[in-house]
């Protein structure tokens, strides 16, 4: 029983990370109607910046966190302003295909860049909790994972407050709800794409900084998280925020239980099979709405 609880708690922590990745992708989709294939590189970039800050200046994990997040956000800003500018300005005939090509190529570019700067091997960014365990009576959890879970929760609450109470967040929500309506009341919708990318980069960066002390960071570290993000938003259906969080946690728990009680090697295969099965039964995701075609 305690083993089951331990696995489930670990699953929830990992699931929260998947939710962070998925939320960023869903935000970008809600404004731009396209998918960012280079999203995993925000995860890697922030983790690498955190590692670099720790190595070069001897900063602790908490001190390195803002620098790492700023690095990821800067990357997001660069991508949306330089690479995706034709999409945000509505100058592209087929935005989804254009973004697929540019962000996929960008993903390869950034991976090669990381490879050139940091080399092919894994690095350990500064840890938040040392190697200690926290006991919960009948089971115990590595402190690092507690820190990761808490950090993810703080990020989610911060996001909620931003969307609900800040002017920028409310503009953002309005644009996601009805682009034309938002334009009519004077919201700069092109700017909202930038907001979506920066927020997405911040969320992925949080996941990267929190998770890489556990898994270490290497140039292609972002590939698995971004694919998990895709699975989460497909599970949830694009456009449902609560659904995305629930789907993330669900995926994390199912994966860990599956790898503990079935076969650990096939952990990622379960997730992919789940993705394809869901798309077969519900082509618009579990909580997704049908969209008009014409």
């Amino acid at each position: 029983m305690d083993f089951f609880l331990e696995t489930t708690t670990n699953g929830i922590v990992i699931g929260l990370m998947y939710a962070l990745m998925g939320l960023g992708l869903a935000f970008i989709y809600s404004i731009m109607r396209t998918m960012n294939f280079a999203h995993g590189e925000f995860y890697t970039a922030s983790a690498f910046v955190s590692y670099w800050a720790g190595e070069a200046f001897g900063l602790s994990a908490i001190e390195a966190l803002p620098i790492a997040l700023a690095g990821g956000a800067l990357l997001g800003w660069i991508i949306v302003r330089l690479v995706l500018r034709p999409v945000t300005q509505g100058k592209v005939e087929r935005p989804v295909e254009y973004t697929l090509i540019t962000t996929l190529v960008l993903m390869l570019l950034l991976q090669k860049l990381f490879l050139l700067i940091f080399g092919p091997f894994g690095h350990q960014p500064p840890s938040f909790f040392g190697g200690t365990y926290v006991s919960f009576g009948i089971f115990e959890i590595p402190g690092e994972r507690i820190a990761a879970g808490a950090g993810a929760l703080i990020a989610l609450v911060g996001l909620y407050l931003f969307i609900r109470y800040s002017w920028l967040g409310r503009q953002f929500a309005a644009t996601a709800q009805n682009r034309t309506g938002a334009e009519v009341i004077g919201i700069d919708t092109a700017r909202m794409s930038t907001v979506a990318f920066v927020v997405g980069a911040l969320l992925a960066g949080v996941a990267g900084v929190l998770l890489s002390p556990i898994y270490s960071v290497y140039p292609t570290a972002g590939v698995i998280p971004v694919i998990k993000g895709f699975i989460v938003i497909t599970l949830a259906g694009l456009g449902s925020t609560i659904g995305t969080i629930v789907a993330g946690i669900l995926l994390g728990v199912i994966e860990l239980l599956g790898s503990v009680y079935l076969d650990a090697g096939y952990r990622d295969v379960y997730a992919f099979v789940m993705l394809i099965l869901i798309l077969l039964v519900r082509p618009n995701g579990l909580f997704g709405e049908n969209e008009r075609l014409a």
Binding site: Y29, T34, M35, V83, R85, P86, E93, R94, V96, E97, Y98, L100, I101, T102, L104, V105, L106, M107, L108, L109, K112, L113, L115, L116, V223, I227, F230, I231, T234, L238, G265, Y266, D268, V269, F272, V273, L275, I276, L279, L280, P283, N284, E291, L293, A294
Partner: protein, 329 residues
Amino acid sequence: MTTQIDTESVAMARGATRKAERVKAIRVVGGSLALLALISTVAPLLGSYEQHILVVMGVYIALSVSWNLLAGFTGLYSSAHPAMMAIGAYGSAILAVRYGMSPWLTICIGTLLSALLGAVLGAIVLRLRTIYFILATFALTEITRLLLTLNVEFTGGSLGLATPFLFDTSSRIPYVLSSAILAIATCLMVWGIMRSSFGILILSIREDELAAEAMGVKTSLLKIGVFTVSSAIAGLAGAYLGHYIGVVSPSMSSLDTLGRIIIMVVLGGMGTKWGPIIGAIIVTGATELFRTFENEWLLALCLLVLIVMRIAPGGIVALAHRIRPSLRS
């Protein structure tokens, strides 16, 4: 951006009169044979390294031309091309290694396997909306890689599987010729499809699927057909490459491979007749030349593609048209 290319490809699909058609067919076949003769005379004069580049070039021409049929002409941005390539390669390699069949036979079986899986999986994923189609095919590529890595006793795991060579000789000349035949046959097949009445139907799917369907075009059947054909070509190219290099590994089914194909097609000119061929020749040639600093070169290449997407979305072919409008491809 597309108007110029459209008129060209529609004209390509419609063809002119019967007689002009026959003259053109003779010219194309004659040109291909002349090209083959040229390659077979020049190839022995080259060093074995240059011959190797030619072989790889042929394989990548087949891959990029078949992906261009999917993405450039039909508008299906499939990420599953590396998966189909790996399925053909592994199907062929496993049969040849475990059951001792001749590579010639197993390459055929591998191609059929890719075509079959392309038809079945295509029927499933082609029902999805653009964005979900891309995600699902993305997942197919990753699943294939994972399954190939995990089933160690059958596939050799991440180390790969050593395969028998296609030809017994140590000379590379038979490979240069066979890979040239592979590339030319692929081009002729795709051009043939685009010249036939299917060509117009395929382009109508790309331009406006809903309208095409309303006009009575059987879009879903056509899309499955295109997906099957391009999967078969990818499988053939993968199987051939495996029996040339002498090893297949799961990394064949990766985003890196997909990225390489996309770079070639975009650089050359997407949705054009010659674009993917030019792109494949330039990119493979240059990649082999810059072998020693491959990472820096790939980085520069990615940057170049991003710039091309911004300032010249039609790639090299569109640039050539802009410089010399009289140039007909």
